[in-house]
């Protein structure tokens, strides 16, 4: 059996490996291209180039600042909308007796299994015929109806203590009243967790924003990032500065909301 010191050492080694990519982002973001591509490996730039940051935002070929703003707006709307729509549906499926509820739930489950790329072309044509290409609606609305989130909420609400709601009903509240007065206020931890996960997935989404964001003004940060990667000219320091800036907000979200996130992940109902 590993001693305590040995255990900490082994964990430390693993942690170092997990941090390597972050190190590379920071190193490359603050170096010059010559340092990155040089013949000898440089562990850290001789001159830390914070100028790379201003260069990134001054670069007119990729509207990076705009794409950050878009991602923030899309991320917030996506999160609020998904939470609202999916939590209601999850509650309805979990708690309100209805003859066909099981069948409807299966219809939701099936959509979990149909990957986005399968329906991606017809979806695109559909959204485009609504005139939503390069628009905020086009980026946000089609993503609100997540079968997975609905499923998580349903599983959670199945485990919600029934006594609380029944007390509310005795007080004369219907499902709607009980939901808003009792269920939601007592589930804020779970909502916070799902909100964090949803925000992250919204922020990191790539395929859909790539197709919908035809206009540069409607680019999200992931699309901007990928455009750096495939641009015809490769500027390492800009690419990695962009990566660093795109990851930073989420790292902050993570560090501040980790408590809810960890609790939430643990109680998402997928624990078995």
């Amino acid at each position: 059996m590993l001693g305590s010191a040995g255990l900490h050492f082994a964990t430390g080694v693993c942690a170092l490996l997990f941090l390597v990519p972050f190190y590379l982002i920071v190193r490359n973001a603050l170096s010059t291209d010559a340092e990155i591509t040089g013949e000898d490996w440089q562990w850290f730039p001789a001159d830390v180039r914070w100028d790379n940051l201003t260069e990134l935002f001054d670069d007119t070929t990729v509207p990076f600042g705009r794409s950050l703003w878009n991602s923030a707006v899309v991320g917030v709307l996506h999160t609020v909308g998904t939470l609202l729509v999916c939590s209601l549906a999850g509650y309805g499926l979990a708690r309100i007796p209805y003859r066909h509820a099981d069948r409807i739930f299966y219809a939701v489950l099936v959509t979990l299994m149909v990957p986005a790329a399968v329906t991606f072309v017809p979806s695109f044509v559909l959204v485009s015929s609504l005139g939503w290409v390069s628009s905020l609606q086009g980026l946000v609305v089609p993503g609100l109806f997540s079968g997975f989130t609905c499923f998580l909420f349903r599983q959670y609400f199945l485990g919600f203590p029934r006594e609380l709601e029944e007390a509310a009903r005795v007080d004369g509240l219907g499902y709607w009243g009980a939901y808003w007065r009792i269920v939601v206020p007592n589930s804020l931890n779970f909502f916070a967790a799902i909100a964090t996960i949803t925000f992250i997935s919204g922020w990191n989404a790539f395929l859909w924003p790539l197709v919908i964001g035809q206009d540069q003004e409607a680019w999200t940060v992931q699309v901007a990032l990928s455009s750096y990667m495939t641009n015809q000219t490769v500027n390492f320091h800009l690419i990695f500065m962009a990566t660093a800036v795109s990851i930073l907000p989420l790292v902050l979200v993570f560090l501040f909301l980790q408590r809810w996130l960890v609790q939430g992940v643990a109680q998402t109902g997928i624990k078995g």
Binding site: E39, I96, Y156, L225
Partner: protein, 320 residues
């Protein structure tokens, strides 16, 4: 803030609904049901089912460079896809990929969870470190992997490190023989995913009643492998099952890293990438692509139903 009470609150309780709510009969609850689920279901129909239906429709038509075709060709697209080595090959690729990524991620996340669980110092710090990659996108991670770690040139990190030991520069992605590209693809996903599943395992580990370990110690089980094998692992069974299923679904949906890392290859294409190239790539064959999509969807639905039958995953009445 009491985590323990929340956890109690989420313990599954029998879910069969009361025959009728305290207020009124079934009719009132039907209305409520639709009030709650209506918006979601309407969106689901418009943005998920209509496109699926459209795909199904397209699959029976000759639809090249168009999504409003007029030439009905029956099952020709299906025949083409099923006899097409690329498509069936992509199913093999998926199988290989799943066979690697699922057990490896499972083992790594469980291993990390066991380590972090037993730490006495800096537990929260290490948990954060392993969890942090979850914040990264596949785009960002692919970029780091392709441009910096597994770049085939001398300033790639792997080639630099191997160079210190006198190993020649390796083209990690270009050369399929030996298939190093699997190393690149698997490590990207591993880095991004392992922390998330580690959290699931950590939560489950914390839920194992200590009394079980005490009882085992009294029965003479030695700490370490024996306890792990006979107490920990069985107690984690439910979580393990869920993790494996989630990993399978995620592996099946894999697209971003294959798409970003492997260019102009005829190998290493899982089904989604293959379909993307068929329908949206240079062929623009929406009919054949849709037929492939329908075949995949049917396969997956079958697996889901079987899975639901055998494992009870996602069923309200025995979600444990």
């Amino acid at each position: 803030m009491s985590t323990t009470t929340t956890r109690d609150a989420t313990r599954p309780v029998p879910a069969e609904a009361p025959a009728a709510g305290p207020r009124g009969g079934v009719r009132g609850s039907t209305l409520s049901f639709w009030l709650f689920t209506g918006p979601f279901l309407a969106g689901l129909v418009v943005f998920v089912y209509v496109p699926i239906g459209w795909s199904a429709y397209l699959s029976f038509f000759e639809a090249r460079y168009t999504v409003t075709p007029d030439k009905f060709i029956g099952f020709d697209n299906y025949a083409l896809m099923l006899t097409n080595g690329d498509f069936t090959g992509s199913l093999v690729t998926f199988t290989v990929f799943a066979a690697i990524i699922v057990p490896v991620t499972w083992a790594l996340s469980l291993g990390l969870a066991l380590m972090v669980h037993r730490l006495r110092f800096m537990k929260a710090f290490f948990r954060s470190v392993f969890f942090l990659p979850t914040a990264c996108s596949f785009v960002a991670a692919s970029l780091i992997w392709k441009m910096s770690i597994f770049s085939g040139v001398r300033f790639g990190l792997m080639n630099t490190v191997l160079g210190w030991f006198g190993v020649e520069n390796t083209a990690w992605l270009a050369d399929p023989d030996p298939p190093w590209y699997w190393l690149v693809i698997v490590t990207v996903r591993l880095w991004l995913q392992a922390g998330f599943y580690m959290i699931l395992f950590l939560a489950a580990l914390q839920n194992i009643p200590p009394v079980l370990y005490e009882a085992a110690a009294i029965d003479g089980a030695r700490p370490g492998w024996q306890t792990f094998r006979h107490i920990t692992l069985p107690q984690l069974r439910a979580t393990s099952t869920a993790v494996v299923l989630l990993l399978l679904v995620a592996a099946y949906q894999a697209f971003d890293e294959f798409f970003n890392l492997l260019a102009k290859s005829t190998w290493g294409r899982p089904p989604l990438v293959e379909l993307y190239y068929t329908a949206l790539g240079d062929d623009q064959d929406y009919g054949a692509g849709s037929a492939g999509a329908v075949i995949l969807t049917l396969l997956i639905c079958m697996v889901t139903l079987l899975q639901g039958r055998f494992l009870g995953f996602g069923r309200g009445d025995d979600s444990r």
